[in-house]
């Protein structure tokens, strides 16, 4: 009943007038999101089923050709190239997440073991790269991997690369870039769990002669799981769609889905195909979020 009087947070009012006032607060922002987020996304979805003209213009005629092409079917037969790019993006994101987790555990335990004063300093040191521009952090690896420096020289000595050549672009460079890019995304939420760890449980396990691995899996892992799972999602999802790291450090031979999308909006000027690839990435994102949700935890991104 919209006109019945009732009390809402100390105010005598009706449901109708509250709704009206609430909507007036919501309307501007929601209208913005509808106009520049929801509608464009829907158009984008529709575009993935449209055709492309000779000069890159959009032809609004229903076709599933973009998806067929993504699956590898073309007039020349079947190639797994695009599917392989999708698969590689998942693998790179997965391995990046795994390595970041493996490095984040010692790091967050170390920070938590510092005295309170220097703990803030160490945390700030982890937060700074988190906020530093990705372009800078990606290209900074150019210097470390340059042919003049010891890393490339050692690799050349071992016969891994021809002498005098840089270690980028290469898969190794992509992994170095990705892990350094996303490590803070795992460390920061994980640290907030480690900080609150109940050490009496760890000590109890040790008193009862648990092995080290058993202490970790039975006493530490369950307690740090909330922070860990947030960190895993925060890393895996953006890592799959990342563009700048594979672009600068991977080159054309080690493309990820982000590069493939960018290519369609840049050089190739094939928007419908770009939209189809984006939909594939969107589906991968949804699946990973769904897997995370099924673990029964709410997404607490902030």
């Amino acid at each position: 009943m919209p006109n019945r009087l009732f009390i809402w947070r100390g105010e005598l009012t009706t449901r109708g007038s509250l709704t009206k006032r609430g909507l007036s607060f919501l309307s501007s922002g929601m209208l913005w999101l509808a106009l520049f987020l929801i509608v464009p996304t829907l158009v984008f979805m529709a575009l993935s089923f449209a055709d492309r003209g000779e000069y890159g213009e959009i032809i609004w005629k229903f076709t599933v050709e973009n998806y067929q092409r993504l699956m590898g079917y073309s007039v020349f037969g079947w190639t797994p190239d695009y599917l392989y790019i999708l698969w590689r993006s998942v693998v790179v994101a997965g391995l990046t997440t795994l390595i970041s987790v493996l490095l984040s555990y010692p790091l967050s335990f170390f920070i938590a073991s510092r005295p309170p004063r220097s703990r803030y300093l160490w945390l700030t040191l982890v937060i700074v790269p988190f906020w530093t521009n990705m372009v800078i952090r990606a290209y900074a690896w150019f210097l470390i991997l340059a042919p003049e420096l010891p890393f490339a020289k050692v690799a050349a000595f071992l016969g891994l690369v021809p002498s005098g050549s840089a270690l980028y672009p290469s898969p190794i460079a992509v992994y170095l870039g990705m892990v350094s890019m996303f490590l803070p995304f795992v460390t920061l939420p994980l640290y907030s769990s480690v900080e609150r760890l109940d050490w009496s449980l760890v000590e109890a396990a040790q008193d009862l002669y648990s092995s080290r691995t058993r202490v970790f899996f039975k006493a530490i892992l369950p307690q740090t799981l909330p922070g860990l799972s947030v960190g895993v999602v925060l890393t895996f999802v953006p890592a799959m769609g990342t563009f700048i790291v594979p672009d600068l450090l991977g080159g054309a031979k080690y493309m990820l889905v982000g590069n493939l999308i960018q290519q369609q909006f840049g050089a190739s000027r094939d928007w419908p195909f770009g939209a189809a690839v984006s939909m594939a990435l969107m589906i991968l994102t949804m699946i990973s979020l769904q897997l995370y949700r099924r673990r029964g935890e709410e997404i607490e991104l902030l």
């Binding site: 609430g22 158009v43 969107m282």
Partner: protein, 266 residues
């Protein structure tokens, strides 16, 4: 807590080294005399001085700042209104979960998809008006679109934590809607609004993908400039510019940290 095991300690220090080694390299080569190559030829600050006489870089820096300021201002107002609208009214469960989804879409969508969708949208809108040509206008719209949700989420969590006791007390004392908003709600949620605005500002300064997709020739930002320069080949000047950007980031992060700790104290 007891001291960390030496193995844990060395792994942790190694990881920190891994995070900072590249940035350290950039800083070192920003003061190297050699114009080409990585051999150390002595200390110089010439590259920094050159930056300040490079008008293109200065105008790029100005673009970056203008984009961040304008988009943050608009997104902060819109995001705060949305947060109040969601938190302070008796919406049904269904409406609430709808609003929640709306706010989380921009947060979980990969930025490259949002950028692609906006490029297409602006492309189609260009039929209506040429203000949608790639450039500053498009960039501001794109930045606001992903900032709103972040501001709204931060302000909403602040509204949740302050509860509604003070608001109810004010109502019991016959405060009007406007009075409650101005004298109760706004002062109480201000720290949340500031935090949200700061987050939005940093996100805008940091953004590469959205700007890369929507920028025009006259609206280059610093990340775009660095990207374009790096693709042509790194120069000591770019190292100097990057080092400055990193230093500014450090100042902003430390400043924000200090502010949030002071807030906790009082």
């Amino acid at each position: 807590m007891k001291a960390a095991h030496p193995v844990i300690k060395s792994l942790a220090l190694g990881t920190m080294g891994f995070l900072y080694l590249p940035l350290f390299g950039v800083a070192v080569y920003s003061v190297n005399k050699a114009e080409k190559g990585l051999l150390w030829k002595g200390f110089t600050l010439d590259w920094y001085l050159q930056l300040f006489s490079n008008e293109w870089i200065l105008s790029t820096a100005l673009n970056t700042l203008a984009l961040a300021v304008v988009s943050t201002l608009i997104a902060t107002v819109l995001g705060t209104l949305v947060a109040i609208g969601i938190n302070r009214f008796p919406w049904s469960k269904k409406a609430n979960s709808m609003l929640d989804i709306m706010l989380h879409i921009p947060v979980v969508t990969p930025d490259i998809i949002m950028a692609g969708a906006l490029v297409v949208a602006f492309g189609l809108l260009r039929v209506l008006s040429n203000v949608f040509e790639p450039g500053m206008f498009d960039m501001i719209i794109a930045h606001i679109t992903f900032q709103i949700a972040f501001v709204a989420l931060v302000v909403r969590s602040r509204l949740m934590s302050i509860g509604h006791d003070v608001e109810e007390a004010a109502r019991d004392l016959f405060a009007t809607n406007w009075y409650v908003l101005r004298r109760v709600m706004i002062p109480l949620m201000l720290p949340g609004v500031v935090a949200g605005a700061m987050l939005a500002f940093t996100l805008s300064l940091d953004d590469f993908v959205l700007s890369f997709f929507t920028a025009g020739p006259d609206s280059q930002t610093l990340p775009l400039y660095i990207y374009a320069a790096v693709r042509k080949g790194v120069t000591p000047e770019i190292h100097a510019l990057s080092t400055l950007v990193v230093l500014i980031t450090v100042v902003l992060v430390v400043g924000a940290e200090r502010m949030s700790r002071k807030k906790e104290a009082c």
